[in-house]
Point group: D2
Amino acid sequence: KKRKFEKSRMAKSRYEYVKQFEDADQIPLNVWFVCRIDGRSFHKFTSTHNFQHPNDRNGLDLMNQAAFRVCQEFPDICVSIGMSDEFSFVFRRETKVHKRRRSKIMSSVVSLFSSTYVYLWPKFFPNTELQYAPSFDGRIVCYPTDSNIRDYLSWRQVDCHINNLYNTAFWTLVDKGKMSNRDAEEELRGTDSAMKNELLFGRFGINYNGEDAMFRKGSIIFRKIDDSSSKKNKKKLVVVHEDIIRNKFWTENPGLIPVPI
Amino acid sequence: KKRKFEKSRMAKSRYEYVKQFEDADQIPLNVWFVCRIDGRSFHKFTSTHNFQHPNDRNGLDLMNQAAFRVCQEFPDICVSIGMSDEFSFVFRRETKVHKRRRSKIMSSVVSLFSSTYVYLWPKFFPNTELQYAPSFDGRIVCYPTDSNIRDYLSWRQVDCHINNLYNTAFWTLVDKGKMSNRDAEEELRGTDSAMKNELLFGRFGINYNGEDAMFRKGSIIFRKIDDSSSKKNKKKLVVVHEDIIRNKFWTENPGLIPVPI
Amino acid sequence: KKRKFEKSRMAKSRYEYVKQFEDADQIPLNVWFVCRIDGRSFHKFTSTHNFQHPNDRNGLDLMNQAAFRVCQEFPDICVSIGMSDEFSFVFRRETKVHKRRRSKIMSSVVSLFSSTYVYLWPKFFPNTELQYAPSFDGRIVCYPTDSNIRDYLSWRQVDCHINNLYNTAFWTLVDKGKMSNRDAEEELRGTDSAMKNELLFGRFGINYNGEDAMFRKGSIIFRKIDDSSSKKNKKKLVVVHEDIIRNKFWTENPGLIPVPI
Amino acid sequence: KKRKFEKSRMAKSRYEYVKQFEDADQIPLNVWFVCRIDGRSFHKFTSTHNFQHPNDRNGLDLMNQAAFRVCQEFPDICVSIGMSDEFSFVFRRETKVHKRRRSKIMSSVVSLFSSTYVYLWPKFFPNTELQYAPSFDGRIVCYPTDSNIRDYLSWRQVDCHINNLYNTAFWTLVDKGKMSNRDAEEELRGTDSAMKNELLFGRFGINYNGEDAMFRKGSIIFRKIDDSSSKKNKKKLVVVHEDIIRNKFWTENPGLIPVPI
């Protein structure tokens, strides 16, 4: 590790002025912000590693564990939601982590998630050798009001639902219906949610609402208050698969995002 | 992998407006920019994994390979320099990669570096189990002129020299001189480069300039023209440990950063 | 006025690429923002034009009229507060004016204010020739919550009070107390509001609360609902000098900034 | 003018935190930047005040004098070019004016220009009463290289030429050719520069190159070295109407923008 304490004459070389070119990139005060990461070229990655369709349980569990690690590292992450190859981390309005420097926060999150994903791979895929290191991109988006950040989270959960319903129908048509990919795509074109539900149930006896909640709702990570705990800090980081669109979740878990009166 | 082609009515839900809150974060046109990554809490990481002082060759080789992978992925990285737990990637002025979106570029680089570092760990440390996943932070800094970006690179190489000379002297005093850390620190306080060179040579017979160039100059990665190659693309990504402060390197390797006339 | 409709070959000259260097400077969505302007070198300006101490009524009336003109031009200015040589214009959260482009909004406001100030000068100072054109600087600051923007306005009104109380005491000591500027300054050093009130009343029989509300509270410009109006649009731009720190003003004038329940 | 020296307890009120919401908006180091101002709704303004077509000499002289005043106030403006209702002010790479704060610089320039325009109006339009105060918007654009900033200036001068040639032809057709606006527009559709020159000369005997240089080239303001001056500072702010696209101007006036070797 480099030593920083010696500032010799040479250190203050004529080149050091270049440090001044770094720009301030502070996130505005008193706004919620989301750091969202997305897998890069994960279509290729999941196919290389033979992920199951439409959902690979081990793959999602690995995503959740990497996200869990990020939430441990950053106590100011209030709540997170993940699905497929993406995860969104919501930081509290008031956080002062890394002086709210955007690049510092964003890079630290995406880096820790990425390295942890590879680190934990053998635990979730003991029989599948990792062929190459995957990567994720990241972005930070700010939301001024409680209502806006709730809508962001709802957006992701609705998206999860839509994509999963589509994918479930698609792969059922392909796997059980013996259709080609193209025919399955054609079959689903223009169908709404009700029609897809009907198709699954009518033709294949599948009750979509009986599918695993992790697939339908995504994974929510947050610090849940455990009143039965004898510890001083009764908050415990948990992964759940609940509806976060309605007020119920937020009322039952106070201290996350204020529920409108 | 999620499917994007179905845009049902529900997808255009009332929550989708939140997408508009993403801000444009385009890097200004026609400027050089550096993406620099730095190890987070690497003092603890290197000590947990028993890295050698003052330089751990395997540790540096692993850094170089992770950086090499990043340079393969981003052809518009013109030149990189690394040392200790940091690496700087210089993108060409003209690059259009990811539409010059700052977050996208920065997160992709730091993510790929981080995941590759863990992925390649067993190759460089076959007998040392990785105890946990390390992480890196990143930043992007822009430089408008050729002279500014050259000065940036010179700054990093001067810093490498200063830190390595100090660390070499310090650990020689501790390891061969049997001094305590505190005494060694005291001994070096206020010494300039000449005095440290003299100390190493006079007391321990060590010629600092005989130390490994990788330790003294850092590692430079770039696409070198190989005229002897029979391939159409005669450029080959290489790692060298040369002086990049003087014009010589840049004159011998045209096409990287223009040398002033 | 230049014609824009002819785009000949030459217009698409090789120079036109420079347009792409303009950066997006959109104000974040759904935040309140203030455009505040401040007189540049107004100490010199007011002394050159013999403004009265501690307040020049004509000078303030002129400021108010220039601000009034700005509020007419920008219907999305929700409320404004001015005092001394400054004015703050609060734009509604939802405004789409000039696509929320920061520079465009800020420059238009400061320009119109400045030109109107000079244009109206003779009306307010019929016997004082304007010696030179004054100028103002401007800035835009964003506030995410209703509470933040209320606090901004309260901050300005508190500042108005503090400065005016000080200035009233200072100039009373100088003008009526026949003190030198330095002695008056010395006399007031370390005094709090109560002491200044007492000084004014005890020594000079001046009841500070009897001073003109415009001096004590600043000037507030907003669209007031006039229920007695027979017009369709019952809102009328008015200038008042009321307390805007307490909820009363906001409750009596709904539709400006929501009052917490 | 408000007094700033008294910071009483109340001044540090609980509202003062709002100051922290101001963001850093520093212009990047070592880049050229242009502050360009444009008349807002000048079509209406010029028609209200009966400006002559296609160029109103007094109107342009007034623009030039307002710009001259701005250049006096900001010694770090290296060169300016104006035409029609716009003016571009180029600041030197190295300028430290207002700590390179974007809003401060931009607002000060546009404000001083606007107030001066109104202030000087009676001097240039002694017989035309100003009906209302006009306003200008402004923007700042950064350019990293000498070549980029030269191209910016060339772009404006080419634009001036194109617009003026078009307008000259258009108004000649209308005024001397007795055409309707629509017919004149139709006549010119699709014509290139040569055709417009020919039209002017062939039909009306007008040699376009004989038109006033101010109309054809715009107005350039800069500090010219006057070697014959006996003053210590031999630089004098001048307004010229020369070609600034070719190197000649820049070679003859060294110290403005470096000419490529």
